[in-house]
Symmetry: C2
Subunit: 342 residues, 2 copies
Amino acid sequence: MSDRPTLRTVAAKAGVSHQTVSRVVNGDPTVTGGIRDKVLSAMRLLDYRPSAGARALASGRTEIVGVVLPHNPGFAFSNDHLIRLVGGADQELAARGYGLLLSTREVPDDAASAHRRFTRRRQVDGLLVEAGVGGEALPALRSAGYPTVVIGYTDEDLHCVHPDDEGGAYAVTQHLLALGHRRIGVVNGPPENQLAMAARLRGLRRAFADACRAFPDDLMEHGDFTAPSGYAAAGRLMARTDPPTAIFAFNDGMAFGAMRRLREDGRALPADVSVAGFDDTAAAELIDPPLTSVSLHSVDVGRRAARILLDLLDGRPPTEHESVVPSTLRVRASTAPPHVAT
Amino acid sequence: MSDRPTLRTVAAKAGVSHQTVSRVVNGDPTVTGGIRDKVLSAMRLLDYRPSAGARALASGRTEIVGVVLPHNPGFAFSNDHLIRLVGGADQELAARGYGLLLSTREVPDDAASAHRRFTRRRQVDGLLVEAGVGGEALPALRSAGYPTVVIGYTDEDLHCVHPDDEGGAYAVTQHLLALGHRRIGVVNGPPENQLAMAARLRGLRRAFADACRAFPDDLMEHGDFTAPSGYAAAGRLMARTDPPTAIFAFNDGMAFGAMRRLREDGRALPADVSVAGFDDTAAAELIDPPLTSVSLHSVDVGRRAARILLDLLDGRPPTEHESVVPSTLRVRASTAPPHVAT
DNA sequence: AGACATGGAGTGACCGTTCACTTGACTGCA
DNA sequence: TGCAGTCAAGTGAACGGTCACTCCATGTCT
């Protein structure tokens, strides 16, 4: 009595076979209008809800995809990115009836644990993996044999989607060069994000090359994406004998740190030194002066990744192996022409 | 051949019954060591992975909980909170073998759609709902009859967990009063978050009362959590004949807007006017001057909610109906004693 | 008019677990 | 020595869908 109704219960009520009810549930067009109505009202009457488990068992598909995210509370700058990524993926996947099973793991985690939760228990049809979960996890995922799309960069032979880091860095650099800056200091990111950072560096170099110049390698420092590391890097850059007139930090967090350092050193922003960031976090337009940065369209990245995964799930191999989502430069008040040289 | 092994396949290989294999998989202690080893090696040999679908069908439990989040891209300030919430919940739930099935919906959404995805197809055992999904959705969820924990405030008769908004606001107000501020302007939040805002207002009033004063109601303005609304509200507050010496905005975003407005009006921060926010977003300590705010311990809120849900799922009714997670005041440079009155 | 294609609806097996019972061996106690 | 009591392991029936077929009533072509 208190048991939930099944296909057969509904079938009995409607005076049809359980298969017919199944057809109605799945929107099979071969069911006649009259019969369909009878079944629908029986379903409504009994408050019928299909059992996802039974369906998964019988069909072999769970209609769930696993989403593996890095969860590094200290690395706050990417939260905007992550949540938008997931939101975008959810939009696409939900439209096709797929659910998102989440796994957020501390980044220093044994490679196995994150994905094993899904694959060990065959509860997902495919996987969406943020590259930040760490390179060790990816080979393990590959071997599990699930359709997988990586969000970010990867060395593995997997489909991947990422923002146009190279294009974004190109745009920033071109913007600074056009303003008249010649000595541009760079605050590069940490080695963990090597592939993304390499792309940004490529964009930077290409912009210099297109302006018939070369990036002076001695003007590069490294940070770890945190504001303090940007603070320190800016200090080192400005201590050069011929200091830069602009600083391009490879994420907003380090740009904020650099801004603080420059201001503490008594330099006016952007009159004395221009600063540009990357990622266009929420704080970028709140800070004073508002930070020139590169917006990543994370929602679109998530959507694109989801679409590729859906192709894979449908057995429709996507044409492109690596998909790049355009990013856009947001010019704000932190960048301006340099002081006229003496 | 390419089919995945089942319990019975493993059983045949190990020379035992399928039930014994099931016992080993589920860690039943009644299985003898020798037999267990045989089964385990057979499992390893065949790369056996249990079918979540079959298990769900047979046991009636999916070992998945649904997480319903509001997804409002414009409302960037809460992303930190959301992602930490989920991270915390995941920590607790994963430890007990539960997965998190995510649903992020645009906030203006028909009440039905968000949760129906889960409940319609019975793929979750319980639900974790962020109160921001909107009040209309909650009654619908209730009727679905799933064990449910609300993260935030609710009028419904559901278990809920939220940060100590009242205590946080009390701490901020007490801090400002202790500094010597008497006229404290408030930028209240939007009506959608009425219950949380009411709690913050209670804390504010209580702090005034404990100092044997009363909050001057004429010094309250409303915003919508965005920086521009804080900007506007600050303008209105400072236009009073007797303007406040401190502004307490009910979230960081509005505080940032207020700071910009004050600075544009030529006021020094915090020398002329102190500003305090709420939520302690990542940007709070990056901005200049760093913003005094209230940190919400979102991870703990998520964990607590998950634990309560686990109690519910275990048929162990939690003692407390409403659970409050302490929040802490972070005093930074945006608050200081007021100018000495003439 | 008879053979045949067509399309709506029904039949029963099967997917891979768990669950309630049963079986059988071994224990300890009278 | 016999028998209840215990405990490890086995048996077979669900669980609630989907899938591959069969079946039957039409309509069409020769």
